[in-house]
């Protein structure tokens, strides 16, 4: 276990803030690590499901990181992947049940994708790479950071798809009627998954043109 031997750190030291904010941009799970793409394509037709999905993933990454990090010294290394899966699966089921009870219409839209959070590569990636070797608090923050990093992309994609695809934001019409009268038509293609991939592609392009260090050398 490569663990920091530092004595007590303040709750929000510069290091913690860095752990939190790194996944927003330079280590973004979707655009840089290219993890969790499938759900990003599926649940971004509208803003509301995108936000609920982002919240769900944030909760699951944060708490699975926290639990695994707390248990990290007791987990037998031979069954560590199984232990991680059990923790993640239990959290996902709890999230799914809560969504079914309180936001039923959204949970129907998300359908299998809540269950598929279990297989979201972001989770296992963070558990293996971070939580197994770090203290609970940084792991928890890392989970929140990655969840938000994932959510930022989801919400951005959802915003453009809902705006251009159905002329709405949160289900409220935002494109004024005179534009429709003048011949503007919502682009039905935006509702389909391929345009989500293209939207993510555009985001990756913009991000790399701003951050030259992300561009592959080859």
């Amino acid at each position: 276990m490569s663990e920091d031997k530092n004595t007590r750190e303040p709750m929000f030291s510069a290091k913690i803030v860095k752990i939190l904010t790194r996944p927003f941009n330079l280590e973004n799970p979707i655009t840089v690590q290219v993890l969790g793409i499938c759900s990003a394509l599926a649940v971004t037709v509208q803003m509301k499901p995108a936000i609920v999905m982002a919240l769900s993933v944030t909760v699951v990454t944060a708490f699975s990181n926290l639990i695994i990090s707390t248990l990290r010294n007791t987990i037998p290394s031979r069954i560590r992947i199984i232990v991680q899966l059990v923790v993640v699966a239990a959290l996902v089921i709890i999230v799914d049940q809560v969504l079914k009870a309180y936001v039923y219409d959204v949970s129907k839209k998300l359908s299998v994708f809540v269950g598929l959070i279990i297989t979201n590569c972001i989770l296992m990636g963070r558990l293996e790479a971070f939580a197994m070797a770090q203290k609970p608090w940084p792991s928890f923050v890392d989970g929140i950071g990655n969840g938000i990093g994932y959510g930022l992309i989801l919400i951005t994609v959802g915003f453009f798809r809902e705006l251009l695809g159905s002329g709405k934001i949160f289900g409220i019409d935002v494109v004024p009627q005179f534009l429709y009268d003048a011949g503007y038509v919502s682009n039905g293609l935006m509702i389909l998954p391929p345009m989500a991939l293209i939207t993510i592609g555009v985001i990756i392009w913009l991000q790399r043109s701003k951050n030259r260090e992300l561009i592959d050398k080859s």
Binding site: I75, P76, R78, I79, V83, V86, V98
Partner: protein
């Protein structure tokens, strides 16, 4: 390195804790979830008589519009003492035809019309499909339908639950001029213009479309005796 004994005990304890936690959560949330399912059923029934509701107002509108419900068997005899709302058609369809209980809902619309709502249940490509169909008081023309599905392909079979597909069924007829039961065909390649017994299938969703056709035919066949009994304008 941990011993095998440690690993066994570790996994057993972990699984027990997780099982207890999940059970507690499931039991705690069950009432809220069941209420959501109940309200969704009300919304589905109201959709089939062309009333759009939100989860918030569904219960009030349902109580206003659905004036009564009853349960009938395949011979058209009413079965008393059973609440139609609690009949699980999926389970009924597995029974032999003579034992089946079919729920019927009676809706009074704002314009004074009465509609009969019948429940449907069938098979799609990947899983069950279900819905409601409402007939006008002539017991022949369809006032509206509502379809939903568990796991049909998005963009293809899943299109059966879109207003565009469901809207086609309005004003179609289930009996021909001689009073024979014809149901409504879902036709690949498009229904002929003006055919009151057919609608267009979904391109790329043929099996689901056929599933809808069979569902309407098979379920309404069970209701046929009831429908004929209440058909005041029988030829």
């Amino acid at each position: 390195m941990h011993s095998n004994k440690y690993i066994f005990i570790y996994s057993v304890v972990m699984v027990l804790i997780v099982a207890v936690a999940l059970t507690v959560v499931a039991i705690q949330l069950k009432p809220a979830q069941e209420n959501n399912i109940r309200i969704e059923k009300m919304q589905n029934i109201l959709t089939s008589v062309n009333i759009v509701t939100t989860p918030k107002d569904a219960e009030t509108i349902y109580k206003k519009v659905i004036i009564s419900n009853l349960v009938t068997d395949s011979k058209g005899t009413e079965i008393s003492g059973v609440d139609a709302f609690s009949v699980d058609l999926a389970a009924e369809m597995k029974k032999p035809e003579a034992d089946r209980k079919y729920p019927v809902y009676l809706a009074r619309l704002d314009n004074g019309d009465t509609c009969f709502v019948f429940q449907l249940r069938g098979k799609g490509l990947w899983g069950p499909i279900w819905g409601y169909i409402s007939l006008r008081s002539d017991m022949n023309s369809i006032s509206g339908v509502m379809f939903d599905h568990k796991s049909e392909t998005p963009g293809l079979g899943a299109e059966i639950s879109t207003p565009a597909f469901m809207g086609q069924f309005k004003e179609k007829q289930i009996f021909d001029a001689q009073g024979n039961f014809t149901s409504v065909q879902v036709m690949k390649g498009g229904a002929p213009e003006g055919d009151v017994h057919a609608v267009d299938a979904i391109s790329g969703g043929t099996i689901t479309s056929k599933g809808v056709e069979h569902m309407i035919h098979d379920c309404l066949l069970g209701y046929e005796a009831f429908i004929k009994k209440h058909n005041s304008t029988k030829p």
